[in-house]
Amino acid sequence: MERYGIPLEGFLVISTAMFFIGIYGFLVRKNLITMLMSIELILNSVNINFVAFNSYLFPENMQGNFFALIVVAIAAAEASVAIALIINIYRRFSNIEVENIDEMKY
């Protein structure tokens, strides 16, 4: 099960590396926008898996393709709401470091 000499595991290794780099960034970073970037990395790695499985294992249907499309749409919605929240937080606290935002009272 190879395509042009590349097995399915090649794609899985890339997406695993990207996923855990995203986890590392999410744990280490303190700025809200950089944490959002780590989440985008994680979502993107999952998309690579869906498309690779669809293409290598089940080329007779397109479920993986559509699922990846839906994940992209949800990522867009999530990013827009997250950025609206970040801008609102910036207005209240004048910075977006997670450590300074310890007050959730409205």
């Binding site: 000499g5 590396a17 990207m18 780099i21 280490v28 690579i48 294992l57 499309l69 992209v72 609206a84």
Partner: protein
């Protein structure tokens, strides 16, 4: 070494190097540009797999939409010439241990597993087939998720406007 192999390894190296730079760069705008490179290389992998529509969506929505949104919010909330302080070394080591152990576990699991491909003949993955199946209500049709996603996007848009609106 065929051209396909070279392309695959090039995209793989770009994805991993720029992912690491995204989470370690100390300037926030550079991190956003590295994220853009990661997303473009991912679109390259979709082209490599012959999923043109998925690659186009990746370029238009991720690389064109989300990255621009992130860069705008960086410009609104941060000073460009400000550098992040390096996180404490114990925190970095803990996070790296968590990430590396999780990665080792996943690699161990799926490299031992043998994947069995389906035996049915592949279908053509072109724009006509995607459009027909996305809006079909028959078996294997995706009309309901499509409509649910449109409502989700509308809700997210209204929510973003209300949250980011100034004052009461």
């Amino acid at each position: 070494m065929t051209a396909y192999k070279i392309m695959f390894y090039l995209f793989a190296a770009m994805i991993i190097v720029f992912s690491i730079l995204t989470v370690t760069s100390r300037r926030i705008l550079r991190a956003a540009v590295f994220l853009l490179f990661v997303l473009i290389s991912t679109a390259g992998l979709y082209f490599w797999l012959d999923y043109q529509f998925m690659a186009g969506v990746q370029l238009a929505l991720y690389a064109g939409g989300i990255v621009v949104l992130i860069i705008f919010s960086i410009l609104l909330t941060s000073h460009i010439d400000q550098k992040f302080t390096q996180p404490h070394w114990s925190k970095r080591i803990m996070a790296a241990t968590a990430a590396l152990s999780g990665m080792g576990l996943c690699l161990l699991l799926f490299l031992q597993h043998t994947f069995v491909p389906g035996t049915n003949p592949p279908i053509k993955n072109d724009m006509t087939a995607i459009g027909t199946q996305l809006l079909s209500t028959e078996h294997n049709g995706f009309a309901l998720p499509f409509e649910v996603i449109s409502i989700l996007l509308l809700a997210a848009m209204i929510a973003a406007i209300i949250i980011a609106k100034k004052g009461k």
